[in-house]
Structures are given as structure tokens and as C-alpha cells.
Amino acid sequence: MKRKHRRLLVVLACLAGLGTATGLTLAALRNTIVFFLSPAQVAAKPPGPGQVFRLGGLVVTGSVRHLTQNGHPVNDFTITDGKGSVPVVFAGVLPDLFREGQGIVALGSLRPDGRFVATEVLAKHDANYMPKDVVEALKKNGEWRPSQGEPPPAATWDFGVRTQGANARGAPATQGG
């Protein structure tokens, strides 16, 4: 065996060992590297009252209320992951992207009555990018309601949204420029 072949084997063996070690470490830490807990995780293993953690999920459609508590405006809504849900109160300014059906991450703690008191709310936007007129067209056609979840795949509307009825729209590509 030539020397460079032996060096190649040594390097590859080291890399395989390192990769396995990293993989096992990350697998072991899987539950601690999460940035936020989902409502189902909170229901399964609730953090104690007063313990600060991040809670993430989708804002339940129709749950957002703007209340007044002790003379201060308070946002009251419920967030869900489809398996569980947690009611949240937040007395601060909501991010611009906050809406029903939007994913959010809130920092705070549980009150003894099970309500999550948030001190910070961040919007978590999804991986879908689409222009406004496409969204309007999809909404008008009843093909998608943003509060109900993920939009239809881009391939179905990339070159124009098919409209029912007489008021045919041009392809959004022409409006995009």
C-alpha cells in the first residue's frame, strides 16, 4: 500500500469516527437543542409555574382578542400544533407578521391556571414566498385561506392563477414586471 493511500484511509477513518461521534451527540441532545416547545410537548411534560421557556405554534383562527386588563391593552389568543393548544396573553406590541394561522414563538411562563404569559412574541414565517396579487387571486378563487395553513404548491399558480367566471385575470408574472 502506497503512503498516500494509507494517509487517505487514516483521514477517512478519522472523519467517519468524528461524524459518528457528532451524530450520536446531536441525537442525544435532540430534545434540548429545540428553540421552542410545542403545545403537545407542554401538555406531555408541563414546565413548572414561573419557569421561563419558549412556546411555538400556529395562532388559532378566531382566537385573537384584544382585551383591556387593569387599563392596559392585552392580546389574548390560543396557539396550537394540531395536537394540543395553549392560551396565551401578551401585553406588548405584536410583530407585523402576526395573524391568524401564522406560526409564532412566544417567550414567557405558564400561570397556575395553565395560561401562558408572554413577555415577547416573535413571528415565524414559513418557507413560502409569493406576491400579494397571487395571494389575492387564490383567496378570491377559494383555493387557499391563509388562516387555514400552507398555500398550494407554487407550480400550480406560478404562471397565473386560473380564475373561474368571466373576470379573467392576467398572469401575475406580467404584473410583477
Binding site: 483521514v11 428553540f35 416547545l37 407578521l97 412574541v121 414565517h125 418557507a127 406576491p131 407554487a154
Partner: protein
Amino acid sequence: MDATVSTPRPGGWHRFANPGRFLRLAGRVTPPIAWAGGILTAAGLLWGLFIAPADWQQGEAVRIMYLHVPSAWLASAGYFGLALCALSSLVWRHPLADLAAVEIGPVGAGFAALCLATGSLWGRPTWGTYWVWDARLTSMLVLFFLYLGHIALIRAFDDPERGYRAAAILALIGAVDLPIIHFSVQWWNTLHQGNSISLTSAPKMYIGMLAPLLVSAIGFTLLFAALVLARLSAAVMERRTRALLLAQVRSA
């Protein structure tokens, strides 16, 4: 130190490690790559910043994407190139691989810094914060620090060969961060969104935004290649000049 860079035996793909042949080839291909990269980058950025539509949720802030995504891609791809250099330096002792590792480092670190800065500026209007310690952001910051460590280590020894060896080992070990960056948004809950573009599924992006993003990414990639080729050519020539001067001093 060996002044006339040792020449590997010709034949196979090893012949590209010959510095003289590299200089001739790089001198020919670098200008067209740089021009194509400059033109495509300008076209992609102008298209993305002024012509492409705004996002329905994020509004105009989405345009940071046309800078952020190419720099994130190049920070990772550059580190992958660094790891390949490290491998061929450790295994085949290619003289060019070490010089290439020296020259890739600062360029890649620049793109990693650009990725972190633009991401931070993008995060403020969309998420509501400049920075969070989620898995994607943290692993990208680690990549930036790996670049800085590599830049420092490869220049830290009086005997350059020792620096090359130590930095090559660091580059290979750091390469485990690359899959972590890529899959962080799938393995863990993160604030950062998932991948919009992947090899295995249809892009989740309007074609009028996807096209300028791809043009910009190709343009930045060519610019990256041209920068590294120009820096590497300069490094090879610097080495030759030093060797000539040393020979003159010795014979005088």
C-alpha cells in the same frame, strides 16, 4: 523552505496541481469568470431589488433575500472547498491545495459575515428580533468562527508547512458543521424557516422571485470563484518572486 514548488508527476488530474500550468490556466479563465459574475450579480440584484414583486407577508423586506441566500450558500460552499483543499493537502500533499486554503478562508469568511449581517437585518422586520440562539443561526455563527480560526491558524507558524497541516485538520473537523447548518431547520424547532429550495421537492417560491434569486446566486458564485483564482494566482506568483530573490541573494 522548498522554493521551487515541488512538482507532482504529470498525468491524471494531478497535472492541475502544477503551479505553472495553474497560472497559465487561471490567467486565461479568470477574466471571463469575473466579468460573467459581475454582470449576473448586477442583473440578479437589480431584478430582485427593483423588479421582482414584494412578498405578501414580508413586503419589501423580502428583497434582502437576494443578498442573504447567495452569501449563505457561498459561506457553506466555500467551507466545503476548504475541506476539499484540506483533504488533498493531507493525503496527496498538493502544493496548490495549501495555498488555495490560505486564499479561500478570507473570502468565505466575508460571505459568512455578510450572511449573518443581512440575516440579522432581515430578522428585525419579519421575526421581530435581530438575533435568536436557534439551531440555524447558531450553527452559521459557528461556521463564521471556524473560518476565523482557520484564517488565524494557517498564518500562525513561522514554518508555513506546520500551519498548513494544523489548518487542514481544523478545516476537516469543522466540516461536520455543514450538514448541521443544512439540516438544522429540519431536525430541530427553529425560528428560521425551512428550506424553500431543495433538490428533492418543488421550490416553495413564486417563479418571479425564484428566477432573480438563482441569477444572483450564480453571479455571486462566479465572483467567488474569480476572487479565489485571482488571489491564488497572486500567491503563486509571490512565492516564485520570493524564490527568485532568494536565489539572487544566495548567488551574490
